[in-house]
């Protein structure tokens, strides 16, 4: 919205001599009387002249009228062109506004009347009563001359009045052609004068953004698009889509393909993505696009239209398939010198604790060994080596076989699968390592191997589809744990792929009356992941039927929550597309109905920042329920999911969660730490850290456990020393409580995840894009944490591995045109919001210079510190291809 001009605000650009002039206020008479004497000779003369013109305008002689109007116009123009305060001519003419208006009415239609209309239009700038829009109405009957000649302030005021008039006319269904003509002029004027934001505001008000396309040029399109995309976050649907659409078109028009691709990915519009490829001819640039798609984690097939040459296409598809991710990650690890494998003890650092260290009991504790398995897996994730699972089996200190068997029963599932985590993204090596478990006749080990195959393939695609080939046959085996291993493995490996072949394997399980509940629950989850955000009807049907078939007793089981969650994931971020399914869910058994409703709502509006949905969910949390209802947990998580998309929303949400801690019921308090964990995932804000630290000592152990896991989540992959210290102290505080200690260990593993090279945040590309698979993984874990005892502390602890979907290196790795790592200096600093700022403002502050590859923390941004190369993407994250700058001169 263009601000209505405020006559009381005096800009700094005012001329010196004007400083003495008081701006007209509400009681002009009194002041005018006083000032009469203060006027300088010059001003007095001007005033007298203007009074003379006013008189002459009313003269019956048209020549005199014309001359007077002309003079008046010149006086006004001369003073308004670069004015921010109220110009003197306007001020001196104020007392005569009424006179002129009255005279204008008596005038017959003529050129002169039009001229007077123009002048009255300008005078109305300060005189018009609120809501009268006189400036606009006089303008419309005026000469339609150059709008800018009356000055910037006039144009802004006019724009404001147009917006009001437009709404009025829309409601009356009156024609708007005359308005649109004015809009054209105003937009053209704004776009030429560095006021892109105002132009966009006006066009949004009159709902005609397409006009922008005509007016953007090389100098202003970036600022325009920047404003458009950031405004989109605050617009209600479907306006936001429209806005992004326009900015996509603008970017395409100016061949700013990386940005266009970003928006295409945001819109989840494959057609647009394709168009980016077909429009760009440069192969190297296309490679950069592939890196961007790969980071977003969607499945995308290149065709011959996009890349003609078969070899090129193969090379590009390889990048989209993320086959180079492991290599890049290890390059980063070698550069930072963290290749050395770490043991859980290196993470626990028990020697730093006074006295009450863990006693190092003589007998293995299965629970603590399981915790060590997870810590080892998370910490060494993707490094391909560790000290428990991959040590050569002949070593005397404890072979891989040995550690595996130091886990009890279902613990062996997680232990075997941890090998997949250690080999993350390196499919060939991972499969080679996991092979030996395939021949085990111990079902948990086999199950773990299957899950491990899924994990190692997370985010990686391959023509051979090794995960499907290996896991497919196990989905229907006898043993439940083997089935779950295969099902979960498929879910992780093919998240977001919408692979029909797998659906045809999983759907029958969901509707198999004989299948055990846990198998069905995991099948639903995996289906939800594979079709995440697809709104696939067939998949939804299968889950809905599965939900309807559950008996009363089964609906009370903790694992049943995965069924609605699987359903919700199908609609992740797809807003109103969920409505039909939400309607169906109203027919469910009342035990699960509300839970399902909340889950669907929160998933569908995840990452949208939709304020209305936040209010809906808050209302749900405000109720005080009788015992047994569990739907408030997902409602609290939903609050975080909806609000997590932008900083402002996050801050507001954190505040309202604090309230809930104070006034909410116990089941709400248990979910609040998890919601905080989601809001600040891999971003340890000090205030949130303190809140969680306080909750980690809560008398309700469920709250404490949730808070401890969340401490791990907010610090995931940061190596944050303060968090590490807090958790270490917690490990000594809870050394006697096996369950809480387990949670502390998991959190310690998370904080040191990937030895500090990884992040869990589902947002990337400067927090603009939200990876649906990543969010799906985190949300699944959080839902599991709503009831810790039967799931994570029970025998389904391997749901922790769903986090792998969100694990990504938080790196910036520059490569040359052959995609080989290339080290260049970069500045890394806190990102600055530059939306709506004129000129070329600094984008980072408090920076340090490093050479690539570098780590980027939450809220940090990088920029190249050399002119020798040009990055092929303006968003310096992940893999960046550098092109040599042809204009570069060595100094």
């Amino acid at each position: 919205m263009a601000p209505t001009p405020d006559p009381n605000s005096v800009g700094g650009g005012a001329r010196k001599d004007e400083a003495s002039v008081k701006v007209p206020s509400k009681d002009p008479k009194k002041k005018d009387d006083k000032k009469e004497d203060d006027l300088s000779e010059e001003d007095l003369e001007l005033k007298q002249n203007l009074e003379l013109y006013v008189e002459r305008v009313q003269d019956p002689n048209p020549d005199l009228q014309r001359a007077a109007l002309e003079s008046m116009r010149q006086e006004i123009r001369a003073s308004t062109s670069s004015m921010t305060s109220v110009p003197k001519p306007l001020k001196f003419l104020r007392p005569h506004y009424g006179t002129l208006k009255a005279f204008h009415q008596t005038m017959p239609a003529s050129d002169l009347k039009k001229c007077l209309s123009d002048i009255l239009s300008v005078l109305a700038l300060t005189m018009s009563a609120e809501g009268q829009r006189e400036s606009l109405s006089y303008r419309l009957i005026g000469t339609e001359g150059d709008i800018g000649s009356w000055g910037h302030e006039y144009v802004r005021n006019l724009a404001g009045e147009i917006a009001q008039e437009y709404t009025k006319r829309q409601s009356e269904e009156a024609p708007i052609d005359d308005l649109m003509e004015l809009v054209q002029q105003i937009v053209a004027f704004h776009m030429k004068h560095n006021a892109e934001t105002e132009a966009v505001d006006l066009l949004m008000d009159v709902e005609d953004l397409d006009l922008l396309l005509e007016h953007v040029d090389k100098t202003n399109f970036k600022r325009t698009c920047n404003y458009l995309t950031s405004a989109a976050k605050y617009l209600p649907g479907p306006d936001d889509m429209l806005v992004l659409d326009i900015s996509y078109m603008i970017y395409m028009k100016f061949e700013e393909y990386p940005n266009a691709l970003q928006i295409a990915l945001f819109l989840d519009n494959t057609q647009y993505v394709k168009q980016v490829f077909t429009s760009c001819a440069d192969l190297l640039r296309k490679k950069q696009f592939c890196y961007m798609i790969a980071r977003h984690g969607i499945t995308f097939e290149l065709d011959d239209e996009m890349v003609a040459d078969e070899d090129d296409r193969e090379a590009l598809q390889d990048i989209v398939n993320n086959t180079k991710l492991s290599e890049g990650y290890l390059t980063l690890a070698r550069d930072i010198e963290v290749m050395e494998a770490k043991t859980p003890e290196d993470i626990y650092k028990a020697h730093l604790l006074d006295g009450r260290a863990s006693s190092g009991a003589s007998v293995d504790s299965a629970r603590q060994n399981l915790a060590a398995t997870f810590v080892n897996a998370f910490v060494n994730a993707g490094f391909g080596q560790d000290k428990l699972m991959t040590v050569p089996s002949d070593s005397t200190t404890g072979s891989s076989g040995n550690w595996l068997f130091k886990n009890k029963e279902h613990g062996k599932i997680s232990a075997a699968a941890s090998l997949g985590m250690i080999q993350l993204w390196d499919v060939e090596a991972g499969l080679a390592q996991l092979d030996k478990y395939f021949h085990s006749n111990d079902n948990p080990i086999l199950s773990g191997a299957l899950l491990g195959v899924g994990i190692v393939n997370s985010g990686i695609k391959s023509d051979c589809d090794p995960a499907l080939a290996l896991l497919g046959d196990y989905v229907d085996k006898e043993d439940s744990s083997v089935r779950i291993g295969a099902i979960m493995g498929l879910g992780i490996a093919y998240a977001g792929s919408q692979n029909d072949q797998i659906r045809s394997k999983l759907s029958p399980i969901l509707n198999d009356a004989k299948a055990p509940l846990d198998v069905i629950a995991f099948a639903s989850l995996s289906l939800g992941m594979i079709y995440v955000g697809s709104c696939n009807e067939v998949a939804a049907q299968s889950i809905i039927f599965a939900l309807m078939d559950r008996s009363e007793a089964e609906l009370g089981d903790a694992l049943t929550r995965f069924l609605p969650l699987g359903l919700g994931l199908l609609y992740l971020g797809k807003q109103e597309s969920v409505e039909a399914t939400a309607e169906v869910s109203k027919t469910f058994n009342e035990k699960i109905r509300k839970y399902c409703d909340m889950t669907l709502l929160s998933c569908a509006y995840a990452g949208t920042g939709n304020v209305l949905k936040v209010q809906d969910l808050l209302a749900q949390c405000g109720e005080h329920l009788e015992k047994g209802d569990i739907h408030q947990g997902p409602a609290v998580l939903g609050l975080a999911m909806v609000a997590m998309s932008e900083e402002l929303g996050i801050d507001m949400e954190i505040r309202s969660l604090e309230r809930m801690l104070q006034y909410g019921e116990q089941n709400i308090r248990r979910a609040v730490p998890l919601a905080l964990g989601l809001l600040c995932i891999s971003n340890p804000k000090v205030t949130v850290m303190d809140t969680l630290s306080r909750l980690s000592h809560d008398t309700d152990s469920e709250v404490a456990m949730a808070a401890i896991i969340s401490l791990g989540l907010i610090g995931a992959g940061t190596n944050n020393a303060r968090l590490a210290g807090m958790l270490r102290n917690l490990s000594s505080y809870y050394y006697k409580d096996a369950s809480l200690l387990f949670c502390v260990r998991i959190a310690q593993g998370l904080v040191h995840m990937g030895k500090g090279l990884l992040t869990l945040t589902p947002f990337h590309s400067e927090r603009f894009l939200l990876s649906p698979t990543a969010l799906a993984g985190i949300v699944t874990l959080l839902h599991a944490c709503l009831d810790m005892k039967p799931i994570i502390l029970g025998k389904y602890h391997y749901v922790l591995y769903f986090l792998v979907l969100a694990m990504q290196p938080r790196m910036m790795l520059t490569v040359d045109k052959d995609l080989k790592p290339l080290s260049v200096p970069v500045r890394v600093g806190q990102a600055v919001d530059v939306v709506g700022q004129a000129g070329r403002p600094k984008t980072i502050t408090g920076f340090q210079t490093h050479s690539t590859p570098v780590l980027l923390a939450a809220g940090e941004r990088a920029e190249l510190a050399t002119d020798k190369y040009i990055p092929l993407s303006p968003i310096l994250e992940g893999f960046i291809i550098l092109e040599e700058n042809p204009d570069y001169r060595e100094e």
Partner: protein
């Protein structure tokens, strides 16, 4: 290279009737295209197989033969036996007996193979026992220490005494042998009850994971020793731990005496008793006499000169007493100098930190810092005879330690030493069995092990506060695992060994009041 390799390795039976053999053998890379053509003519497919990090290019498949043959080809290349090979083709696994035409492998396609010749993992032969599987009492032992004791209201003096005494396994076993039947007539009812209560309490502590409430024991203790029932403001008063320790040990020693009531079978005395031989000398008259006595603990007197336990002990073994001198016919000052005549398995030392201050009518506390070592050698406090007996075992111990440190003593001198000890051994043995038998009683079963005069610290009872009847008592006990555990009433916690020696006083921190050393034996 793989190209020619493949062709030559192809199973011979399949190629015999094909006339192109010879030509193919000579093929070089440029004619790859030609081969491919031929291959397709004869229903041959050329594929590449990715295995681990390697890619095998140009492997030919004869589609007329089952995939098992293809697997055999791969076996040659990778060394992975066919049954362990998993070949992935478009989301499916290649079956040994599948039909190539139905699989739909295309010429030039990339296949992926998984499989290793690695050994299949096997469960360890000995199943691993997890703490969670054990019954509760065993879980307790697996913590590496036993449970704490609940404070029943100023009972920390008792709790810490019990914890210290409980760390003596021999006492425990002696108690477990104690039964009603074994009750000798000269043991009164309350002593008997206290002994049983002690036995029960020790048992409870071993079985439990959580803190044990010593209600029964406390009741019996107060019954036996009414002085512990003193009330102050309606609360039971804090008591002196040393008194509790001494009284308890005394009671146990009475009741644990074997029914045969021979003096030798006093188990408690055998464990804790120190025989002192004292020379009482009167400077005025020149009279001299010697006497022996048996005590349960040595006293460490703290004066201005005492900075170390050793000095305090020496100080404690010297004393002046007034008694009637028969020669002078009046009381005279006698000097009493004691030396240790026999060594206990457990040497208890009491720091005499409390004295009665008349001005305040209170037991006041000496805060002076007195260091004590983790390893105590009392050789020079021993009598001449005892020293002689200790010579050989000590030498042996030194040798063993030297060996442990890797110090090579000259083989000749070593031989000599061994001979010497050998020669001395019989006499020693007989000497010990005669003198030690009566003192050590229970330990006579452990023939072949000898005292060395060297002791290791095993428990410390500390006091924190300014007077004996106030403040707080805590026990610090070394476990069999070598870990130190602080028993602060119901909270046991692991401590570092270096912190144990810091309990030596000189401030307001916990300071050692009663410490107990365990004898180090050497087997000969």
């Amino acid at each position: 290279e793989p190209l020619t390799y493949d062709i030559s390795r192809r199973p011979s039976n399949s190629v015999e009737e094909e006339p192109k053999r010879n030509k193919n053998k000579l093929v070089s890379l440029p004619s790859l295209q030609a081969i491919k053509q031929e291959a397709s003519q004869f229903k041959m497919l050329t594929v590449s197989v990715k295995w681990q990090k390697k890619v095998f290019e140009g492997i030919e498949i004869d589609v007329s033969l089952p995939p098992y043959v293809f697997k055999a080809q791969l076996y040659d290349l990778t060394g992975v036996p066919p049954e362990r090979q998993k070949i992935m083709v478009k989301g499916g696994l290649l079956k040994d007996d599948a039909d190539w035409s139905s699989i739909g492998v295309k010429d030039g396609q990339k296949l992926m193979m998984m499989g290793t010749a690695d050994e299949v993992v096997k469960a360890p032969e000995k199943a691993i026992v997890f703490a969670e599987d054990l019954p509760e009492e065993e879980q307790a032992t697996n913590l590496g220490y036993s449970a704490g004791l609940v404070n029943l209201g100023n009972t920390c003096y008792m709790n810490s005494t019990v914890q210290c005494l409980k760390s003596v396994p021999e006492l425990k076993s002696a108690l477990s042998n104690y039964s009603l039947a074994g009750r000798s007539n000269d043991v009164d009812q309350t002593s008997h009850m206290l002994t049983v209560a002690t036995r029960e309490l020790f048992g409870d502590l071993d079985r439990s994971v959580n803190a044990v409430s010593p209600t029964q024991f406390w009741m019996v203790l107060r019954k036996k020793f009414p002085q512990f029932s003193q009330l102050q403001n309606g609360m039971h008063m804090q008591q002196d731990a040393e008194e509790c320790w001494t009284q308890l040990l005394y009671t146990l020693s009475q009741s644990l005496k074997a029914p045969t009531s021979s003096e030798d079978s006093d188990a408690v005395k055998a464990l804790f008793g120190v025989n002192l031989r004292s020379r009482v000398h009167c400077q005025e008259s020149g009279e001299e006499s010697s006497e022996t006595e048996s005590v349960y603990s040595l006293k460490c007197h703290i004066s201005h000169e005492v900075n170390h336990l050793h000095e305090g002990l020496k100080h404690g073994l010297k004393g002046e007493l007034e008694k009637t001198s028969p020669a002078l016919g009046r009381t005279a000052v006698y000097l009493k100098e004691s030396l240790i005549d026999s060594l206990p398995r457990y040497l208890t030392v009491q720091f005499v930190r409390f004295f009665w201050k008349r001005e305040t009518n209170q037991k006041a506390k000496i805060l002076r810092k007195v260091d004590y070592p983790l390893e105590l050698d009392i050789y020079d406090l021993c009598s001449e005879e005892l020293r002689k007996k200790l010579e050989a075992p000590r030498q042996k111990l030194r040798d063993e330690e030297g060996k442990k440190l890797g110090l090579q003593t000259k083989s000749s001198s070593k031989d000599g030493d061994v001979k010497m000890t050998d020669a001395e051994a019989p006499s020693n043995e007989s000497g010990e069995s005669s003198t030690a038998a009566q003192q050590e009683g229970a330990s006579s079963s452990e023939k072949g092990t000898h005292m060395t005069g060297i002791y290791d610290l095993v428990s410390v009872l500390t006091h924190k506060g300014r007077s004996a009847d106030s403040g707080h008592y805590v026990a610090w006990v070394k476990q069999e695992s070598g870990k130190w555990i602080q028993y602060d009433d119901s909270y046991p916690s692991v401590q570092r060994e270096e912190d144990i020696t810091k309990l030596s006083g000189g401030g307001d921190w916990h300071m050692a009041y009663i410490i107990m050393y365990k004898a180090r034996f050497v087997s000969m």
